[in-house]
């Protein structure tokens, strides 16, 4: 029971991370396509400015909770996915640095360099998170000792790649919706056109991803055994359709929130299919790490549950306050064009 509660919390933390940092990552990928001059680029940076750091902490929390509640899963997941995780890490480091360093020197070459770094440093983590999670859904080649027998190329299999591209495009749409809120004039029109273009692409990719999930993974076994779970993909689909309706109605905050719900539901959809597994072995079912054999002691799980139940609502409360405080676009002086 305690283990199952932790499985749900674990999924929730990753899902919240995707919902929140998703728009930063997506905006970083969109920036070179949408922002055509220094003013527009600064508007895009300002749209991420107060938020990205607080969003990224959800990744630290998700990683920390994996470590605390399912140490064996943390150990195997992070060592097996060594190369992609370190590339993800380098991406996150460079992303943060590009925000900070870009502004500090007024030189167009310097800024152009960091704009490029910023693009790559958002694209790579978004892609790799998708690749990693798709491979987790599919199962990875680990033996009973937790030793990984695959390779980086092996992780870039067709399902892994589709998962990666799916994540990137979903995050781009999430970022485009956010930019509509945070921009005006020409840039806002471009962001609206971009969101309108990306929405059907996301629908197509969702279809492809679900179809391949059926052919490449055992995720749907849990759904057949317990059809009530189908509420999750239905919720995801509902969120995506509502996003489109709200976008047409011009209610952008609602559109963004519905799209967040879509991301949340997609994450829960995939991870629920793993239960009771966390890391499935594609070599030997006995090598899979489950909530039973991978969880921490009941005492640790109880204490951590108390910590999370008290602290996460507090964190959410002050982060909501912060989002409301900065709900209007930051002022970007138009004169700084060159």
């Amino acid at each position: 029971m305690l283990e199952t509660i932790w499985f749900i919390l674990w999924t929730l933390l990753w899902a919240v991370y995707f919902v929140l940092d998703g728009f930063d990552l997506g905006l970083g990928v969109l920036q070179p396509f949408l922002a055509r001059n220094e003013y527009e680029r600064r508007v895009v940076y300002a749209a991420e400015g107060p938020f990205w750091d607080g969003n990224e902490v959800w990744l630290i929390a998700a990683g920390g909770v994996t470590f605390a509640a399912f140490p064996k899963a943390y150990a195997v997941m992070f060592s097996a996915l060594y190369a992609p995780l370190l590339m993800l890490l380098f991406g996150l480091i460079l992303r943060a640095v590009s925000y900070e360093f870009r502004e500090k020197v007024e030189n167009s070459l310097w800024r152009g360099f960091w704009d490029f770094v910023h693009f790559v440093a958002n694209l790579v983590p978004a892609l790799l998170l998708g690749v990693a999670f798709a491979n987790l859904f599919q199962g990875i080649p680990i033996d009973v000792k937790g030793v990984f027998h695959g390779s980086l190329i092996g992780l870039l299999n067709s399902y892994g790649l589709v998962g990666g591209i799916f994540f990137v495009v979903v995050f781009m749409l999430h970022g485009a919706l956010w930019l509509i809120i945070k921009s005006d004039d020409r840039l806002q029109l471009k962001a609206i056109a971009c969101a309108n273009f990306l929405w059907p692409v996301v629908v197509l990719l969702l279809g492809l991803f679900l179809w391949m999930t059926k052919t490449h993974t055992h995720i749907f076994d849990n759904y057949m055994a317990n059809p009530a779970l189908f509420a999750l993909p239905v919720l995801a689909l509902g969120g995506l359709i509502a996003t489109r309706l709200m976008l047409s109605a011009g209610r952008i905050w609602s559109a963004w929130a519905c799209h967040g719900l879509f991301i949340l539901a997609v994450t829960f959809f995939g991870v629920s299919g793993l239960y009771p597994g966390i890391i499935l072995s594609s070599l030997d079912p006995a090598a899979s790490i489950t909530v039973m054999n991978g969880a921490s002691s009941p005492l640790t799980l109880k204490i951590m549950l108390a910590v999370v139940v008290v602290m996460v609502p507090i964190v959410i409360a002050y982060q909501v306050w912060m989002y409301r405080l900065f709900k209007d676009p930051l002022e970007v002086p138009k004169t700084q064009e060159y």
């Binding site: 107060p50 750091d53 607080g54 470590f67 150990a75 060592s79 030793v147 912060m322």
Partner: protein
């Protein structure tokens, strides 16, 4: 090279690089919080300019501290997976608590502080920097409680069936005295570093008669703070030494290069140990019984020598000895330097030799803090968790080529980031207060 050595080198490189940024984050945030509080209480515009100027340097430093910290959280899993499995029940929890209790607070309110100058009242804005400071310093507490468990494991039971350490008493883990003394020593050291940073940057401007009134004020503010912190660092260092003597006798013997077990052990000012010959080639200027007193509070106390530990249980003696000696020497120097700065702080013209000394001193507290960690971590060897798990048993089952590639990638990336960060810090530190310039223009 084998995976163990490569993983150790990579962890050492990334943790030391991380700890270039952490102490200034801890030390400067609290000084900036004091500056802004003064502004709120007195309404004096100059304090607002100080908040802005030192706040900017704080921010340049902060970002790299954050991102290099993520590396460490990842690395326990990527490179030390056996270790993570073995102690995750306790160690992982402490890291997770750090993120949920402290790091969210620090990151969220820092963003509010940076972008919220016009959106918040003065008091609310000032409260934000205090929350950042509190978040950062609480964050350090949980990290050091986790490290404290590696140094002096308490509150656990071994589950032999699952082959891992499990939590027996959370209260014991969080009230680990060894960890609290380490925390005090580390945080006070970071606060001293922040003080020396403010003194050093102020001294640079005072030497050049640039914005003199402005930087005299920060000098006057930082001098007493730095003196108090330098003294407290020495005091808590002594407490740490006594903890080590009690719980990690092999580390103590290596720190002092004590080869044979003896009572009434003298302290020698000059020592040249030899690891091969298992003796000290030079021992000069001894003070009778002092080492027994330092370690155990009594000249009659027995100090266990290295030769009474099996060779496979000894830490590397030379590295532990020299890092410790150098740290202590720097610590003594800091007390002296802070004392002179304190005495001179109100003079119309502060002695220029003192000022240049303070400028050149800026990197030394960083060095001292790095050396302190080296003593703690190298001295703990060959254990990853003292007495429970050896370092070589904690490493991930990875190919050496993978770790070589990542190690080289870290070195290249971190070198570039370090150079850029120092360049930017220097650029903004020497340009002085922008609003001060604007007022004069």
């Amino acid at each position: 090279m084998d995976v163990v050595l490569l993983s150790r080198l990579q962890f050492a490189a990334t943790v030391f690089f991380h700890f270039i940024f952490v102490p200034l984050t801890l030390g400067l945030s609290i000084l900036v919080a004091f500056m802004e509080s003064r502004y709120v209480v007195t309404g004096d515009e100059v304090w607002r300019k100080h908040t802005k100027f030192w706040g900017k340097l704080f921010l340049i430093n902060f970002t790299l501290g954050v991102v290099t910290g993520i590396t460490l959280e990842f690395q326990f899993g990527t490179n030390w997976s056996r270790y993570s499995e073995y102690v995750g029940d306790i160690f992982g929890s402490l890291l997770a608590i750090e993120a949920t209790v402290a790091f969210f607070l620090e990151s969220t309110f820092l963003a509010v502080w940076v972008f919220g100058w016009k959106k918040l009242s003065r008091k609310a804005h000032c409260l934000c920097i205090w929350l950042v400071t509190i978040g950062g310093n609480i964050s350090a507490l949980w990290i050091i409680l986790a490290n404290g468990f590696m140094q002096h494991p308490v509150g656990y039971v071994i589950n032999s069936q699952a082959n891992r350490c499990e939590l027996a008493s959370f209260a014991d883990v969080v009230s680990n005295g060894f960890a609290w003394n380490m925390y005090a020593h580390t945080v006070l050291g970071s606060w001293a570093l922040g003080g020396f940073f403010v003194l050093g940057v102020s001294a640079w401007h005072l030497l050049r008669k640039h914005q003199t009134d402005f930087f005299r004020r920060s000098f006057r503010m930082a001098a007493p703070w730095t003196l108090v912190m330098a003294l407290l660092v020495a005091f808590t260092g002594d407490l740490n030494g006594k903890d080590v003597a009690e719980t990690q006798p092999a580390k103590l013997a290596a720190m002092e290069a004590q080869w044979t077990t003896a009572k009434n052990v003298p302290f020698h000012l000059f020592v040249l140990p030899s690891e091969d010959k298992e003796e000290n080639l030079v021992e000069a200027v001894g003070i009778p019984g002092l080492m027994s007193v330092i370690a155990y509070g009594s000249s009659e106390a027995e100090v266990k020598g290295l030769k009474d530990f099996p060779k496979e249980d000894r830490p590397p003696v030379l590295a532990t000895f020299w890092t410790f000696r150098l740290m202590v020497a720097l610590g003594c120097f800091f007390v002296l330097l802070a004392l002179i700065a304190f005495v001179q702080r109100k003079r119309e013209t502060i002695n220029s030799k003192l000022l240049s000394c303070l400028v050149w001193n800026i990197p030394l507290p960083y060095l001292a803090l790095g050396l302190g960690w080296a003593v703690a971590e190298i001295g703990r060897q060959p254990w990853i968790v003292y007495g429970l798990m050896r370092t070589q048993d904690g490493v991930s089952p990875l190919a050496a080529t993978h770790v070589s590639v990542s190690f080289i990638a870290f070195i290249i990336l971190y070198t570039l980031l370090g150079v850029l960060d120092i360049y930017l810090l220097r650029k903004y530190a020497i340009s002085g207060s922008e609003s001060e310039e604007a007022d004069h223009a």
